[in-house]
């Protein structure tokens, strides 16, 4: 009898570990940070792409309802794909788009804007990548939607904008008012 119980327990244990491991196999284990809880520090300093003046995020956020911060680089291919969406968003008069040029060469960055158009009201540069980290971002492209009145992050997208994200962004902007 005891032998039987031992055998059953063993079989049960083997089956349990098999399914646990199987489940683990199918689960992608890539962590991404809790996107909406992080707060933004509006006081970090950065330089403009088109002039050498220094500014803070506080000065860049203006009296419109929303701000979109978009982190991009000329060497980043997905940034090219999302550029039309940004240009499209720019036509909305409820928001302004601030570009953060991430770890880029100045000449290439300007070429990129000249070639594809400029959706940004202002562009600041982040040559060392530190400003982006202070924003809680960790790569390009990344898009952050900020409510200007409450100074909170409404939404954060890691990776390029696509049709689905674009529609969601539009919805968010519409619904907040």
């Amino acid at each position: 009898m005891i032998k039987n119980i031992k055998l059953i327990a063993l079989v049960f244990l083997v089956i349990l570990s098999f399914f646990t491991l199987l489940k683990g196999l199918n689960k992608t284990n890539n962590y991404s940070p809790d996107l909406n809880s992080s707060k933004i520090d509006f006081n970090f300093k950065a330089k403009f792409l088109y002039s050498n003046e220094e500014t803070t995020l506080n000065e860049l956020v203006d009296d419109k309802d929303f701000t979109i911060i978009n982190i991009w680089a000329s060497w980043c291919l997905p940034c090219r794909d999302e550029h039309p969406f940004l240009l499209n968003l720019n036509s909305s008069n409820k928001l302004n788009i601030i570009g953060i040029n991430y770890k880029d060469n100045e000449i290439n960055a300007k070429k990129f804007i000249k070639e594809l158009g400029n959706p940004y009201s202002k562009i600041i540069v982040d040559p060392s990548g530190v400003n982006s980290i202070e924003l809680g971002a960790y790569g390009v492209p990344e898009t952050i939607l900020i409510n200007n009145k409450s100074r909170t992050i409404l939404k954060k997208y890691i990776g390029p904008l696509d049709d689905q994200k674009f529609a969601e962004l539009k919805m968010l902007i519409k619904n907040e008012n």
């Binding site: 940070p33 809790d34 530190v130 980290i133 960790y138 790569g139």
Partner: protein
């Protein structure tokens, strides 16, 4: 004689600045070893050469230069990226098992061994 003193002073100054620089970079290494790289997961920020990790090392160095201590830097990053970024999770409701289970297994194993030995 004067020249000797001058040379000695210069050597001293150089080594002094070098030392303080080395102490800082050691601190950066220590902190970055405790941070998880979010781009190449499974590597620490110290090991990784990804853009994120390189920037992170600069950020840590800046923070140290600002006079922040280790605890403050970890807390800053935890707020930005969440608990997951540190390799050393706090004891909380959902991490208690992580901390207690090894201890429990250790005690359980010890009991098993002691029983086996004492039976013999």
């Amino acid at each position: 004689m004067k020249i000797k003193i001058l040379i000695l002073t210069i050597v001293y100054l150089i080594s002094f600045f070098n030392f303080s620089y080395a102490a800082n970079s050691e601190k950066v290494d220590k902190i970055s070893k405790n941070l998880r790289c979010l781009i190449c997961q499974g590597q620490s920020v110290y090991d990784s050469q990804s853009d994120f990790a390189l920037s992170m090392k600069i950020l840590i160095k800046n923070k140290i230069d600002e006079g922040k201590n280790d605890e403050e830097i970890y807390n800053f990053l935890k707020i930005k990226f969440g608990e997951w970024i540190v390799y050393d999770p706090e004891i909380k409701k959902n991490t208690i098992l992580l901390w207690v289970l090894p201890l429990f297994l250790f005690v359980f194993g010890a009991i098993l061994i002691i029983r086996k030995v004492s039976i013999k």
